[in-house]
Assembly symmetry: C2
Homo-oligomer: 449 residues x 2
Amino acid sequence: MNDTAAAPPPIASRDACLALDRADPLAALRAEFVLPEGVVYLDGNSLGALPRRTAARLAEVIAREWGEGLIRSWNSAGWIDLANRIGDKIALLIGARPGEVSVGDSTSVNLFKTLGAAVALQRADAPARRVVLSERGNFPTDLYMAESVAASYGLDLRLVDGARIDEALNDEVAVLMLTHVNYRSGRMHRLAATTRAAHAAGALVVWDLAHSAGAVPVDLHGADADFAVGCGYKYLNGGPGAPAFLWAHPRHTSRMDRKQLRQPLSGWLGHAAPFDFAPAYRPASGIARFVCGTPPVLAMAALECGVDLFAAAEPAGGIAALRAKSIALADLFIAQVEARCAGMGLVLVTPRDAASRGSQASFAHADGYRVMQALIERGVIGDFRAGEASAASADGAADPALAADLLRFGFTPLYTRYVDAWDAAAQLHGVLESGAWRDDRFARRAQVT
Amino acid sequence: MNDTAAAPPPIASRDACLALDRADPLAALRAEFVLPEGVVYLDGNSLGALPRRTAARLAEVIAREWGEGLIRSWNSAGWIDLANRIGDKIALLIGARPGEVSVGDSTSVNLFKTLGAAVALQRADAPARRVVLSERGNFPTDLYMAESVAASYGLDLRLVDGARIDEALNDEVAVLMLTHVNYRSGRMHRLAATTRAAHAAGALVVWDLAHSAGAVPVDLHGADADFAVGCGYKYLNGGPGAPAFLWAHPRHTSRMDRKQLRQPLSGWLGHAAPFDFAPAYRPASGIARFVCGTPPVLAMAALECGVDLFAAAEPAGGIAALRAKSIALADLFIAQVEARCAGMGLVLVTPRDAASRGSQASFAHADGYRVMQALIERGVIGDFRAGEASAASADGAADPALAADLLRFGFTPLYTRYVDAWDAAAQLHGVLESGAWRDDRFARRAQVT
């Protein structure tokens, strides 16, 4: 993919940022979120902010639907349709169609379902293919679930550098599993081109959209992808540990031959007729076969509040406008950090080319943990990702994107302003220039994000 | 197990019920729930009622922990410890010890984890054993998950009548999976005796406590059980689709040899060092290896409110007192229904012997669906379970407990009163005597519970 966007004019002052915010058609959406005073929140790629409507909606679900309706609410309040209803809304963000997306379980569990389904299809269609291929720097849960699926089907998990996926696509590969936007570097794979290459090589593809759904335009049908999963609590703002989503191309879910699509977590609500309580499993038609247990209603209701804000962004240009703003925010931040902090030990790890990155900017720094803690104390919340001590690429060369300790900054254009990006860069400079981060209270501890 | 409880004196009037409620040391707990006016709720075995504290607690988690704390709350609000913290509280209800119970995912998903772990252990210890054994009338999701686990390990799933488990325990059986209390009949397996029989036959046992945890005393260590799972949204009152729980005996989780316990849903938060972001999976020590993805914080917070009410019941006698009241409520209901509705087509399916049943009473009725709808319209909420049209036992004889359409009534002694059981029986009699259930508006539709 070429960088087709014209370079924007550099933003030269805080006042210019304030002017951009005043002119921003997306600016009103910030009022749809509850954000703490005095905080610049650049960690929406790890946990999205709280939509203003969520508290009232959850109060209603708890008091009226659960408390008053009790068991009747499975029908009267539409709980039983939540997985499809929210799925249809997410479909609009990822180039899927109504009835193709299911919501529930965690991203990890959904990876297991889709990988299991893809591997089983290939076992029927191409049994000689014995490899699940992925990127060495993929998010660990993707690799761990793939390791388990591969082991249970007697396949091998093969990991290569992200830049070498195309050359690794050979006739041994049954399934390629990739995360669209890398959680550390923010580098974005070319979803359509890589899917084409995988198909040309005879492989199926499972895409993890955890760091792209809601942040960058995704067109699963346009790319002719096979399976996808994604996260509800990052750019979709569904709340901590929100249910994840899952998509399968209808060419797979509509197969009625002996190679009918099965997924391994065959729970009762994915049965063709769950209320027949039959002893033998028979998959539901379409995507519904990917449902497993009883849906987590409270968590689903919160997720829906987050997802609904993308509809609210439609009049202002929707996902295309969000993407343009996300790029502008990250460009501004990168330019300001590099201008202010030259010589202070920061190295940009995220691709400078906006077309090759998602919605974050990551900088390597040898004391990244301490720097981030000091920055958080000043009210700028990004996060820290430790480098992998043993990181080395497949050919033995160290991969700096894996080995480095990173400062990670996510840009969530539904609620992040230009002035936030400006202020964050200024604060980062302040932390580095002052040496404040050297204080003992910023020494490394276990961290969860 | 013998019925060692002395038969209580029959309760002969509504006034006698009111007197029992006034004298009940558990009665005050009803005020800890929000219950709709004019409703007798006897479906807490499907979806438990709303604890009064849940709304305020969720409002706090949403506004303060998520909204203000944002990503920092993983540490500052203890989100990362929720699975263990709630697990320790559930441990007290099931005869487990601190640090042995994990909370998260659905019952179905946890069945997959525990069955997968048990089968993998047996593959190492007793590879000639090729059968997963269960009860034909087990809840479908248990059977469907077992079908999938068995298939992925090349084993067979063998289903027999519940009464024939002992004789089916032979040297082919790797794992026995049973639900402690049957969801239809309410019949309770003898947990300790059946575990002993399974061990004597060389099998491991996975117990599903969905219909027993919080309703009947369970002593997993006393029974020397291997694995257990259970449901958060029935007797634990955790909310619709609440996270489930999971237990494994420490003799399994502490194995450090080549047969170290693995479970198939090896997500990142079950890794020994999740924040090292290492590419290869290494299971955490103890029960923590059963965690998969990021925990659903909102749903976990709601579950904790439900679980905490068992601590509130401790001064009034705790689980033993709850069990005694549950038996008294069901005995009262059964006696009243049988006395009032003789000749009206109801047949008790639940064992009359209290020691052999859980906390429900099920009656077969040929028009069970309509009768339950008419009863619900009168404010008595139980539920309906369709008979399995093709139900037949392993030897070809029809099994009435499987074949019959059932009216199901759950007794949840944290909030159900004696007068509720009395009134429910009277209303059921009224529905049957009046023929109100024959009205077209009660014709059968799809139902979810």
